[in-house]
Amino acid sequence: MPSKATPQRALKGARILPQWVSTTALLLPAYGWLSLADFLPLLTMFLFSFMNKTPMGKAPIEFTLRHYRAFIDQPYLVKIAANTLLMGLWTTLTCAVLGFLAALALVRCTTGARRETLLILILLPFWTNGLVRVFSWTMVLRENGFLDNLWHWIAPTAGSIAILYSREAIVIGLVHGYLPYRIITCYIALVTIDDAIIGAAQSLGARWWVILTKILIPLAAPGLISGAVLTFVPVIGSFMEPRILGGKVGVTMGTVIEDQFTQAFNWPLGASLSFTLLAVTLAIFATFSGILRRGTGGTA
């Protein structure tokens, strides 16, 4: 009876499909999208970075390595890059400390509905537009702003504490924007640590700082590293916060690169600066994660 045999054969046929076929089929949409949305634009920009001019109009395009010499030809860029990396470092460090402590408080001191409410409150800044978030800081940090007025009310004779248009103001704005990422990555890392592990350490005589340095931080290291990457990379490329909160001092690699694209119409230089920055970032993380892995005993 063929009508009965056919579905059975189809079923058998489905079973003997090699596993790599199904694996490929499952991964294809994600990786297809990634290569389309991520890889293709990056590749285009990489190509642009070797061109002598922005490829628009009729002028012939020549290929050159000139733009990769920018840091030598324009030495002031080195200073800007150093400032930018410093800004990234401060933001990443501040976020790391605040984020870790907040996540620790969430994991160790809250449960159930209260923890969920606090998590939602942490994510709340994401619901507002980034530009609004940054501009709202100008109201707080400027002279006669919220913070300054509060200070005058507490200490009427003291000077102003307004710090708008300073590097500190930029870092404050950036920390505000990226702290939720850090809290969430630290939270995920910490919440998986079994309470009994901390209990065991306590029973063996460990006080809080031993538990923090010998247990919690090493176990949360993967979360701390991924959180650092998630903060550092966008921070050193940021241009909105430096522009709005930094004013005159808000000159960073982010604003320089943005200028190349939006004002100077020099896409090749913007692209080459971006890739140089990317290389520096990758080098920093390769070194940093190596040290961290060795420092925590290496669970690999």
Binding site: A196, I197, G199, Q202, G205, K214, G297
Partner: protein, 349 residues
């Protein structure tokens, strides 16, 4: 060696009382099981002794010292958890050395103590392994070595064997008993497994709804349960209720049940507990403590046979018998059960 005692301890979580008026002594060198169903408060009591939970009232003494106000890290206790709780980022040796380091034991002394502890749990060659490369039983043994190496005053075990399979659990029970008796360490063991409690303990404390309902040696509790709960939770029991009449308990159908235990006054209605293995099928010859029952179900369990029966007034009874000659009685058969008056134990409801 240390005696641990708990005085007048009570604890509520929010408005829910978890422990009420707990007084208990864990004599030095004894192995005591805290046995009870989940929610009985046994784990909370252990956590109060360890210092993880602060009692609302009452205190804890370890040895001569009142430790009520002392945090966990100052109590010098060894703990084993159900989840092993090894430090996953440290080698086996580093796990064991953790408590030694905190006690300032370094240099040549520390590796020697670590090696001894690992040797004690038969894991001498496993020092360089990471915990995730060990089996569950091996991890639990590392946890034991880690707890023992600091020479704790008391060993607290929070259902440490529950995650292991049966054969491994039995092996670990033997290990645990050997090490406990070798070191003479006062041990408090939380479990919901009555068989485990009976096998391991010098003493058992049965907890129900935040109270210790009975404590004593295993055979003492098993042979003389004081409450219906204790009779049911430790072992199995049949219950018969009747009215006291001239030194016996008369069941509703008129049968008189004899007991050697003192009975309450006439017209009171006590409950009698009779262990299923103490009953035996007997011919109807007019002797005392006989009751007719119909066999509903026969459960064949290898070395033992278990029967579920029903009396004419509807009371369900259980009967356990050693399997000498296979199943002798069939479902549907009505038989007469008999037991000695010494095995009718009056219990509180």
């Amino acid at each position: 060696m240390t005696t641990v005692s708990v005085q007048n301890v009570a604890k509520s979580f929010g408005t829910v009382p978890v422990l009420r008026d707990i007084d208990a002594v864990f004599p030095q060198g004894t192995f005591t099981s805290l046995l009870g169903p989940s929610g009985s408060g046994k784990t909370t009591l252990l956590r109060i002794i360890a210092g993880f939970v602060t009692p609302d009232q009452g205190g804890v003494t370890i040895g001569e010292k009142d430790v009520t106000g002392i945090p966990v890290w100052g109590r010098n206790i060894g703990i084993m958890f159900q989840s092993y709780a090894l430090f996953p980022h440290m080698t086996v040796a580093s796990n064991v050395a953790f408590g030694l380091e905190l006690r300032g034991i370094r240099g040549a002394e520390a590796p020697k103590a670590v090696a001894e502890a690992l040797d004690m749990v038969h894991l001498a060659d496993f020092g360089d392994r990471m915990p995730k490369n060990l089996s569950g039983g091996q991890q639990q043994r590392v946890a034991l070595a880690r707890a023992m190496v600091i020479k704790p005053s008391v060993l607290l075990l929070d259902e440490p064997l529950s995650a292991l399979d049966r054969r491994l659990r039995q092996k670990m029970q033997v290990e645990l008993l050997r090490i406990q008796s070798q070191t003479g360490l006062t041990t408090i063991f939380v479990t919901h497994d009555q068989e485990e409690a009976l096998t391991l303990s010098d003493r058992i404390a049965i907890l129900d709804k935040g109270r210790i309902v009975q404590s004593g040696a295993p055979e003492e509790i098993y042979e003389n349960p004081q409450t219906r709960f204790a009779a049911e939770f430790l072992g199995d029991s049949n219950f018969l209720t009747g009215v006291v009449e001239s030194g016996a308990v008369r069941l509703p159908d008129g049968t008189a049940i004899q007991t050697t235990a003192p009975l309450p006054a006439n017209r009171q209605k006590p409950t009698l507990a009779i262990r299923p293995e103490k009953m035996s099928p007997a011919p109807h010859d007019g002797a005392t403590n006989q009751i007719a029952a119909k066999i509903l179900t026969v459960i064949y369990a290898g070395p033992a046979l278990s029967y579920l029966l029903q009396t004419p007034d509807g009371t369900r009874l259980k009967l356990f018998q050693a399997n000498r000659d296979g199943t002798l009685m069939r479902e549907g058969e009505t038989i007469t059960l008999h037991w000695s008056p010494a095995h009718s134990i009056p219990v509180q409801d």
